[in-house]
Structure formats: C-alpha cells, structure tokens
Symmetry: C2
Subunit: 154 residues, 2 copies
DNA sequence: TATTGTTATACTCTATAACTATA
DNA sequence: TATAGTTATAGAGTATAACAATA
C-alpha cells in the first residue's frame, strides 16, 4: 500500500514512451506521404474525404481556417484526386468528392499507414493488454484520427 | 495458436490510442509553454541546456540548421534566461549556459510538463504493466525526450 | 444580413547560401 | 583550408481581413 497517492504524479517515463511510439509512427507516416508526393495537409484532407464534405466542413474537422482549404483543394483537384461539385440546393457550397483515382491513392495511402511496425514487437496477448490499458488511459478522448496526427496544431 | 502471424499487421486501434495520448500531452505542453511565453523551439532549447552546449551542439541535438540557433538564443539571452560565453580555448565557440533566472524558469517548465494527467486514469499496477508493454513496443528507440516532441520534424 | 468560398497579405518556422572571425 | 556563428533570404504552413456570390 503506497501512501503518496493524493496527486497522481505523471510517470515521466510513460510520457517518454508514448512520445517515442508516436514519433516512430510519425516518421512512418511522413515516409508514406512522401511516397505519394502528398504534404501532411493534403494527406489529412484526403483521409477525411472518405465521406464527401463541403470545404467549410473540411476546414472545421481539420481545424484549418477556411482560407487554407482553397489552395489545398486546388492541388488535389489539379492532380485529379478530388472534384469540386456545386451543391444544387445551395450554390455557395462546393461539395468535395474523391475521384476514382483519388480512391485508389487513398487506399494505397491507408494501406501504407497501416503497415507501421508500431507494435510489431508485441505478441497478440500483449497487444490486447496494451489496448485495454491505453483505452483506459485515454479516457473519453475519442475524436482521434490519423489526419489529426498529421498536424503540428497550434 | 493463431495461424495468421506471418506479417504482424498493425493494430490500427493501438496506433490511434497512441496518437490520442500524444495529442493530449502535446496540448498540455503547449499550454505550459504558453504560460511562460515560450515557443516550442525556445522551450526545446532551454530543456536541452540543462548541460551547457555550444550553439553547434544545440543545433545538432535539436536537429535544427545552425542558422536558426542564433535567433533562438538571441531571444533567450534578451530575456535573461541564457548566456553566451566565449570559449577561451576556441574563440569561435559560444558556450550556452543557463542563468539563475533561466534555471528557475526551466524548473517551473519541467514541473508543469510533469503535471500532465496523461496516465492519471490508471492505478499503480496498471501503470507498471503499461510501462513494461510500451518499453517492449518501443524497442531500441531510446533517443526520445520532450524537446523531441516539441517539433513537427520534417 | 449571414454564410461559402476566394484572394491578398502577413507572420512563424525552418532551410540554404554567402559572409566573418577564428582555427 | 575548415569550422562556429551570423545575416539575408526564400519556402513552407497557417491565420486575418476584405471581398464576391449566394442565401
């Protein structure tokens, strides 16, 4: 029975381990995106466009100012990965839809991401334990995605 | 005994959990640095100067081009947190030493970092298990530090 | 009037290249 | 000649503000 538990001080080593794992994955992700000649912003946008969004919605969920979306979508459109479709019900809105080519790139990109050897050093049991512990540690922070990781944010 | 283990595919959920934890800590770190009016680069430099370094050495271990160090150190020096001392043995070299005020800020900054509630949701046993699992998952990636986290890198 | 998207602009972060002062 | 540091500059990435089209 430990006595000093009033303020649960952070285990510094745990933080460092999480940073190390994250960093390993970030390097892997950078290498994936580089392979498709996509910047982090472009990859993040593409990953979010699995379901079509207006530019405004995309800006909101990537936490970009709306003014940045124009250029990002310009590039994706020039490369034939995404199409702007004017919403017939409200002609201010451009609905962004991934093209056939965009879908192919997206699938490859996702696959590359998933090949991270991030936890390849653990066996099935250990990974299962780890998932339980991390889920508890993370608490109610559920709004996470890979696109989320691709930005320095703030 | 599972059969499909040839290529240990990444557990996507595990990656997302690591991202979520990292992101929580990054937000906390940003808030700490903001409290001291330090940018990520300034905070990272200060954290590295626990032991004195030349500007070149600081650039190397922060993985900055040397040209960036000048401005960063300028600011830290103007704020009285760091001093440039000409190395008497080689007058090209500026040895960077943290001032008394710099030490105080550094201590507060570290303390703020350590107050992350990152794993406050786990009890001692769970944290111990988590540390074992993460250590194994991380493998030989040992060169991690908080300064490391403060950069988008690449 | 309010909202979507665009443009122009500015600021931060980081790298490259040319320079200086030492060695 | 080579190295430590500085300066000037350029390129990303992102934000703010003003604007046009539409609601």
């Amino acid at each position: 029975m430990k006595a000093t538990k009033a303020v649960p001080e952070t285990d510094v080593r745990l933080v460092e381990l999480v940073i190390a794992l994250f960093d390993e994955f970030r390097e892997h992700a950078n290498s994936c995106m580089g392979g498709f000649d996509l910047s982090a912003a472009h990859a993040a946008a593409l990953l979010r466009l699995d379901t079509p969004l207006s530019q405004r919605e995309l800006a909101d969920c990537l936490k970009y100012d709306a003014s940045n979306i124009t250029g990002i979508v310009d590039t994706l459109e020039q490369r034939g990965l995404v199409e702007r479709q004017v919403d017939p019900a409200d002609r201010r809105i451009r609905r962004l839809v991934v093209t056939g080519e965009g879908s192919r790139v997206l699938a490859h990109l996702r696959k590359c991401f998933e090949e991270a050897s991030l936890v390849g050093r653990l066996d099935d049991d250990e990974r299962s334990q780890l998932r339980v512990l991390l889920t508890k540690a993370v608490g109610d922070r559920s709004n996470t995605s890979w696109a989320h990781m691709l930005r320095g944010r703030r």
